[in-house]
Symmetry: C2
Subunit: 428 residues, 2 copies
């Protein structure tokens, strides 16, 4: 080999090696640039490790779940599945269609893992109040205004917003505020609290819990109808109604009518939205919007300042506001709902609900014993009630289904007969 | 140059380059191995970016804080500081010693950033209940048992534990439960709720809020003393007392005595712990233990099953439990408290409190107008009250201090005269 071809050979080898060097250096510099995590690394790694545990698609492991002797988190399985990785199907298992756990949205949040996760620092918002002295994140309040504007289900302009532990806490806050303001406070007898049957059972149990001198649960709205002289009442209006899906309107009217609109299900995945609601007191909850029932986050939209202030007073003295972790998470989740074309989550939710509803309809259409309550299609494509029809009418629909390993919720819980039963289709 | 020396030169260059290549490859492989974060990256990076914003040591930026027009989070400054990076001192500013914001522990959590952060996945615990149907994390319950065992401030064996929104929610849950169980339920008159002055003002305002038929706030315990025949009462016992730091004991005794022990401050950073408390109903809160007031997390330790069940009923109907984010965070924080020699946080907290107390004592010792209430040293090294002594007695200590730009909390708020004022020393 002559000297120049030898040199060429060396030069080629060296050039290749140097090029590889340069590529490697660029890779290292780039990775150093993006991989600059320090104090968040431990929490991030732990979360990814737990999330990577396989539960066969029938369960999930959580950061705060029980662990095996080796410290490995244990899968928490969906109903009817068991085993360390939830792979074992339980034959003849009982289907729980009682609980309204909105787990049907869990796959959506797994698909949007990156944008929906939050990292909470150990020093995040330790104080009692926000900087402005309130108990409410201004960013989250803004996101809620934007959400209703986008969805078009409630008019929030010139109204006050406050937060509570789900709509649960806000129901009683509203009853407290309305029974302490304006016309009722001069009355000697307690304000009557009513709802139209079938109604959400918590209206009754919560109102009765504290046995207040100021208000009293008085059952169905019909007990007050045609008693226009008796204006000392508060009516819960649930729209669409839980359990029967009807788009209820207020029954009791008049100059002194006070209504609490429970709009938990007034979202496009459950019902068509004919127009934005524009009522004086409207309640919403994250549970039924994004499926985060465990976060216990709800909000009230209130027109009257005095009523709003009374509700704030109730929340202050009852729990001193909603945890800052929860407000941070709700903000993150709403930002995901509002990103892109602002319809992704609603499309996912509606498609899932529609497919479940179609399956249930199909199964029940083969039955001569059970039927689904019919709702006008233009108003409501989603309902959750099964009704015993003629020719054979069961006095106790709940127990008939229970014998077939299906747990529903008895009609009596909603103030109607037990020939009705609510079957929940929002679970996993 | 001869051929062999030329070859040697090439060989050396190539060898160096290949070695660099190998090193780079090892670095890249190692970094790929440790840097395997995927869906948590976005949240982790955002959190670190916000945490890295400089607020001159007089404030902090939060993930959910307000942002500038460029989307940069704005610093939230401590009292008396202002400017975009909290570097501007406000002359003659008002010192707010009213709020009991326990921000003095914030530096501890910044020092322990890695171990105290949590990553909450978008799908974390969406359901209403835990796997066992309860609203309570078993892991967190276990950590609380361990905590009291370690600190030695409460005997939790053979007792029930439930969670609430701070001790705030649990105060009323306890009053509800005790007024609905056993001896009181047969009584026609409402159960009297009392506390020894000076007492925490929420006892009064919260008990009066709902105007229940079952219970009624009746002021100072002295109103019931020597009325042994009247056993229909609930006494709040605050130990150490807020505001005066005394290690209170129950005043009202007898066969039917029912007491709610508010032990919010019964931790080694505030008071010596002579012995574990072993009362029937004890309340604790994360706010005063770790400083996370904004998390609204408290727990009750209850001996009697019926009372426990009534309290659970109250929490269920009032808010349906404590948010899962909050329970996850509380678990993480308690695990930090319990790690290592289990004394790191308490040492930090005690040192900070001691130094503040010494400064306050020093300042007030030069005054002939104000004095600090003296507590026996072996019982209490930490107290928060300033008392107007002879020779010159101010009728309104609050307003005298207010004129000097110091906001305290009036004695009247605690059921005593305004010649007393509470100055909080736990803030930032």
């Amino acid at each position: 080999m002559d000297k120049s071809s030898m040199n060429l050979k060396w030069a080629v080898c060296l050039s290749v090696s140097v090029i590889v060097n340069l590529i490697c250096l660029v890779l290292i510099i780039c990775s150093k640039h993006t991989e600059k995590l320090s104090w968040t690394r431990e929490a991030a790694t732990t979360a990814e490790n737990v999330a990577s545990i396989s539960c066969s698609g029938h369960g999930r492991a959580y950061l705060d779940g029980l662990v095996t002797e080796n410290g490995r988190p244990i899968c928490e399985c969906n109903a009817c599945f068991t085993g360390p990785d939830c792979s074992v199907f339980i034959p003849n298992c009982v289907v729980d269609a009682d609980s309204g756990n909105p787990m049907f949205l869990e796959p959506f949040w797994k698909q949007n893992a990156g944008s929906s996760a939050i990292m909470v620092a150990g020093w995040h918002r330790m104080g009692y109040e926000f900087e402005d002295g309130s108990l409410i994140s201004k960013q989250l309040e803004t996101a809620i205004h934007k959400l209703h504007g986008t969805v078009g289900n409630a008019n929030t302009s010139n109204k006050y917003i406050l937060f509570g532990a789900g709509s649960t806490q806000l129901l009683n806050a509203a009853v407290y505020a309305l029974s302490h303001t304006a016309y009722s406070s001069s009355s000697l007898s307690p304000t009557k609290v009513v709802a139209s049957s079938p109604y959400y059972p918590v209206y009754k149990s919560q109102t009765e819990l504290l046995d207040s001198k100021k208000y009293k649960f008085s059952g169905d709205t019909s007990s007050l109808k045609n008693k226009s002289s008796d204006n000392n009442f508060i009516e819960f209006v649930t729209c669409p109604n839980n359990p029967d899906g009807h788009l209820n309107k207020a029954v009791l009217q008049g100059k002194f009518a006070r209504h609490v609109y429970d709009l938990a299900y007034y979202w496009p995945h459950y019902t068509p939205i004919p127009a934005p609601m524009d009522e004086d007191l409207m309640l919403f909850t994250l549970s039924k919007l994004t499926g985060h029932a465990g976060s216990r986050f709800g909000w009230a939209i209130v027109k009257d300042k005095a009523v709003y202030e009374r509700m704030v007073e109730y929340i202050d003295l009852n729990t001193y506001g909603v945890p800052r972790e929860t407000q941070l998470r709700a903000l993150k989740l709403l930002n995901v709902v509002l990103q892109g074309d602002k319809r992704v989550m609603f499309r996912f939710a509606h498609t899932t609900m529609k497919s479940r509803w179609e399956k249930l309809t199909e199964i029940l259409s083969t039955s001569k014993r059970f039927s689904i309550e019919q709702l006008p299609l233009q108003h409501c494509t989603f309902s959750k009630q099964v009704r015993a029809p003629s020719p054979e009418e069961d006095k106790d629909c709940y127990n008939v289904l229970r014998a077939a390993n299906i747990i529903g919720r008895k009609g009596a819980a909603f103030g109607v007969e037990n020939r009705y039963v609510r079957l929940s289709v929002v679970n996993s």
